[in-house]
């Protein structure tokens, strides 16, 4: 194709978008939302649904008149499960596309890869994913669940039900390491002991030796913090070796819907604390699921990160409309009031002003032998309390840092 031909095509594509945008909303200036999520690569199975959830929420908001009468425009890039892509595209959406807000990231490694860029260019980002907790950064809003929500509910329940010897099998990067630290801390606080720990490099798919190490340690249950599709092979291999131990997790099922992908009964007796999965049987959850399936009939599963992404957009709409601006400082003044709440598909959620994290309804999901899900317990309104108690207060000071139990915020 000739050069001028290319240019013509590009111009046509551009005008096409413009016509589309202006058709619905007179001459209003759109609010631009950058969407950086993995639509290919190792994490795609868990994250394509996040993009769809954002598209669904954006469509609903635009149909209902946009945000303050301004249409919402999505600027979407596929980050390919690759941390360097996050950095590249984060620079692009902030510098070239000049978006008002970015929804970005699945793995904690990717979040820590892009977060300095958001800080550097003074951007505003939502991380709509459960993670190991501790990010105290005024440029970020986190709608995913954190360890004090997922582990301080799950681990004591498991220890009461099955016993006090715990084995952790975790992905070997910041998420797995810090989450394992949380498990260790909570097990100790509840008078249990760690039977063992192993960290698995991302991308590893063969677990024979790890399975044997677990059998040797004889734990009462195994905490699996495995990430990515390769590591999910563990369940099938453990089941075929007849390990037959109860499992507990903050990431599996709720993210990668392993109970749908593997043949029963390989995930039998898996317990997961999650703030949403599509099996939750409440009218709000069913209505959300129905809307989702109507727009994306082939969606394999609607997971917790999809719900986080969906509600995040509505929270953003509320913040902008109350602040009457997309300016981050104005929005943070609204967050500081402490009453940014909404009725989400999972139940009521509120943003905590100190940490800019979110309170959640936490569901304990149990996978049965036939891979059906039951909910033995539900905890309502669990707050993301740790950062605030440890000394992070974004209404006063913005350290732009991540803290862990062994590396808490400095005392003033």
């Amino acid at each position: 194709m000739t050069r001028s031909g290319m240019r013509g095509l590009r111009a046509a594509a551009l005008t096409g978008t413009l016509v589309f945008a202006s058709g619905a909303f007179a001459a209003e200036n759109p609010i631009k939302l950058g969407v950086l999520e993995d639509q290919s690569g190792d994490f795609a199975a868990a994250t394509i649904g996040k993009v769809h959830a954002i598209q669904l929420a954006a469509e609903e908001i635009n149909k209902a008149g946009g945000i303050m009468g301004r249409p919402l425009e999505l600027v979407t890039y596929d980050t390919q499960s690759d941390n360097t892509r996050y950095q590249e595209f984060m620079r692009r959406v902030l510098q070239r596309d000049k978006v008002d807000v970015v929804f970005a990231g699945f793995s904690s490694a990717s979040r820590e890869a892009y977060r300095p860029i958001v800080d550097q260019f003074n951007g505003f980002a939502f991380y709509n994913n459960q993670y190991e907790g501790g990010v105290c950064d005024g440029h970020m809003v986190v709608t995913g669940a954190v360890p004090e929500q997922q582990f301080s509910t799950l681990i004591p329940y498991m220890m009461q039900t099955y016993g006090k010897k715990v084995y952790t099998l975790a992905a070997d990067y910041n998420f797995g390491q810090i989450s394992a630290e949380w498990v260790r801390k909570i097990v100790k606080e509840n008078g249990g002991e760690m039977a063992g720990e192993e960290f698995i490099p991302l991308g590893v798919s063969q677990f024979s030796q790890s399975i044997q190490n677990i059998q040797k340690a004889k734990p009462d249950f195994v905490v699996t913090l495995l990430v990515g599709t390769a590591q999910a092979s563990y369940y099938e291999q453990a089941a075929s070796a007849n390990v037959n131990l109860p499992m507990a997790s903050s990431v599996n099922v709720g993210q990668g819907y392993e109970h749908k992908r593997f043949k029963p009964p390989s995930l039998k007796d898996m317990y997961v604390t999650t703030n949403y999965i599509e099996e939750i049987d409440t009218p709000k959850s069913k209505a959300f699921l129905a809307k989702f399936k109507a727009k994306f009939p082939n969606e394999p599963y609607v997971n917790q990160e999809a719900e986080n992404s969906y509600l995040a957009l509505y929270l953003y709409k509320q913040m902008v409309e109350r602040a009457k601006s997309t300016n981050r400082d104005e929005i943070r003044k609204v967050i500081a009031m402490g009453d940014v709440c909404m009725d989400a598909p999972e139940g009521k959620v509120c943003i905590d002003p100190k940490s800019q994290h979110m309170s959640h309804t936490i569901y304990l999901a149990k996978v049965g032998a036939d891979h059906s899900i039951s909910f033995p317990k539900v905890w309502e309104d669990i707050k993301p309390y740790w950062l605030g108690e440890a000394g992070c207060d974004l209404t006063k000071k913005d350290p732009m840092a991540q803290y862990t139990p062994s590396n808490p915020p400095p005392k003033p």
Binding site: N213, Q237, R261
Partner: protein, 290 residues
């Protein structure tokens, strides 16, 4: 814990690591080790075998037939790839890297678009057995036996059959083979298909034990390449001892210090072998004859 239990568990772990290395590497040993085509799409041939196996099992075929279908499908795709792409690049080995890398990207993304982000698993057959305090998966023993069978079959194929002799002749001195009336193009095609089929077989055999996703080939490719690189050009004399050596290092290090050290140990072993034996293990074994 008694000695017999420990010995069995060490043996089982060795066999498991050996099977994974050998089955991942066999197809590549034919295509890269023997033919000299650096095939970066090797993982995608494995993925193709696994996907076809799972799809046919979902459609109602028994697993062994499903694996056969996966193997044949990969071999068929191998013939097509050889005809359309590789055939034109035998004189330009470095260009095959780019071409096969491109193919692997197309295959991964194409599968994601056409089939979706995941495929339902088929479940591991046969159940488990108990030795001492440990329980083991019977299917892992099947994989070990399959690895040995594949090695034996390759040895027989390239040493005792007419096709094997023609293939070796064609690859060593192509113009001489052609002068003697061998259809070298056909031989190249069939050899490439054989390698692709072996990759498909590995995918089919591992399909019941793994997550089925478009990127699954990537988990095999590192092990496949290091085994072939230190094995050298001979499929049987290279791959078998290389698989054995690396399996000892990997299973030993993993049981001692965990998966991370297993991988570190594997790569250090590879660096040492490549430094000491630049032509690989088979180059060392065969040095008397050349």
């Amino acid at each position: 814990m008694d000695i017999a239990t420990l010995a069995f568990s060490a043996l089982y772990q060795f066999g498991d690591a050996f099977a994974f290395l050998v089955l991942s590497a066999c197809g590549l040993a034919v295509i890269f080790g023997m033919m000299g085509v650096i095939n970066l799409a090797h993982g995608e041939f494995i993925m193709c075998g696994a996907y076809v196996t799972a799809a046919t099992v979902h459609a109602g075929l028994p697993l062994p037939l499903g694996i056969l279908c996966g193997t044949l499908a990969s071999a068929f795709v191998g013939v097509l790839v050889e005809l359309l792409v590789i055939r034109h690049l035998y004189e330009r080995p470095l260009d095959t890297i780019v071409a096969t890398w491109g193919l692997s990207l197309i295959a991964t993304q194409g599968t994601l678009i056409l089939v979706g982000s995941t495929m339902a698993g088929v479940g591991t057959p046969f159940g488990s057995f108990q030795v001492g305090a440990y329980s083991y998966s019977i299917y892992r023993i099947v994989l070990f036996v399959a690895a040995l069978a594949v090695l034996a079959a390759l040895y027989a194929l390239f040493n005792w059959t007419r096709f094997g002799v023609l293939a070796r002749a064609t690859i060593q001195v192509p113009h001489m083979a052609a002068a003697l009336g061998v259809d070298t193009r056909l031989i190249y095609s069939l050899t490439f298909a054989c390698g692709a089929g072996l990759a498909g077989l590995a995918g089919g055999l591992y399909a019941p034990t793994m997550t089925l996703v478009p990127t699954m080939g990537a988990t095999f490719i590192m092990e496949a390449f290091v085994t072939v690189v230190i094995g050298g050009a001979d499929v049987f004399l290279g791959t078998a001892p290389a698989g054995g050596l690396l399996a000892i290092v990997k299973s030993g290090m993993t049981s001692w210090q965990g998966q991370l050290f297993g991988q570190i140990g594997l790569l250090i072993a590879v660096i040492i072998v490549v430094r000491v034996l630049p032509k690989g293990i088979s180059g060392f074994v065969l040095r008397e004859r050349t």
